[in-house]
Assembly symmetry: C4
């Protein structure tokens, strides 16, 4: 299959819940950036994470050809972890077209809550 | 009504929960690909499912003219079932325009959680 | 404000839960089509509802200028109600640009579940 | 990073739940407009809130350069608060490109429910 999607994606509402109920890892509160690379070349991906009161931080990921990556954002540690309990946003830049969807599982209360959205695919003509 | 939508759609976050609580089939944990074919011709649809650690698998579906199909992804068996508890993504290709929306019902805990998103409509000029 | 949005929108996953828990009307299971008409002219809106095994049904709505309408889909009765417990899809056609978002509140279990998505804005060049 | 996104965004389904369960502020029922300003210039933002039975109300916000803002809509007070328990919609206008995502946390019952969607990015050619 040819590569499909866009090279830049944006999620504006990131928030890693601070605690969990139920057995790990299935019910651990988390957020995941799900990235599909449907094409024949591996994707080098940069995540730029924005905060309300500090400078952005960049993370590097890699998605093999014809594979998906479900990356839990709380598992990122290099160069530093994303703090739970704080609002953030992130921009995904890839060197080949990919598709990005963001999901939060919140198990802070007795029953979990789940929410997802396809990220916003930024197009060149919309950038300043 | 003329056909409406796009011929290629993408969902990056697929995950079939591994168990359920509450009476079946209403509260069975599941994911559904909901496909509207508003036009006058039947739609031949191919689902290509991508995984993190294995090659993609293809499934064939058909949506009659002027009908919707709410396809539970865990019900697909030909050529093989999608394993629950694993992250996946999928691409929908149709020979006529359709609209695709993806929904997950997770009833692994005492109260169910539901999440939905319109899929990403891939456009020709975005492909590599 | 000038009118904003598109004249055709699509939701592929409609499903009105069959029962509810908790006090009505806040916790009644329901689905709502939320339609913003930001412009200076009233909107005449047609909802075409598609099913899996029967012909489509049309409903007429009206959204005043500079107003929003949060229409519970289970409240529609003319020409006939949408049956709960069945999968459906719908297309929204408006004579002026509007924006459509679809929300489901499912209170069939002890705690409610909520999910929402912006509808798919159909563009002319994508239609067959 | 250059600015990314669009200058106008729309959410059609706003509804601030009327009460909450669990400790504040984490489990207070709320809706948030999450706005990413990835660019090098601060964003002056206007929120125009539409109702079902009254005239629109405007609010002013500011998002610094390279920052995100997670604005709880129930915290707005100038010129007047958005009443809980009422359906509303809103349009976001920014003088520089931003990305907007809307999230509702509903903790009126024993377990919270969460839902989110990327807002609708209005493009010039779609306006009337």
């Amino acid at each position: 299959m040819p590569a499909v999607g866009a090279r830049r994606w944006v999620i504006a509402d990131g928030y890693i819940p601070e605690w969990s109920q139920g057995p790990a890892p299935e019910f651990s509160s988390h957020e995941a950036a799900c990235i599909l690379n449907a094409g024949a070349d591996p994707a080098s991906v940069r995540l730029t994470v924005f905060f309300e009161d500090r400078d952005p931080v960049e993370f590097a990921l890699r998605v093999p050809a014809c594979r998906t990556l479900h990356q839990r954002l709380g598992d990122l540690t290099d160069p530093e972890p994303i703090p739970p309990g704080l609002g953030y946003s992130y921009v995904v830049d890839s060197d080949v077209p990919v598709v990005v969807q963001h999901t939060r599982l919140d198990s802070r209360q007795a029953a979990n809550a789940v929410t997802t959205t396809i990220a916003y695919p930024a197009r060149e003509e919309e950038d300043a």
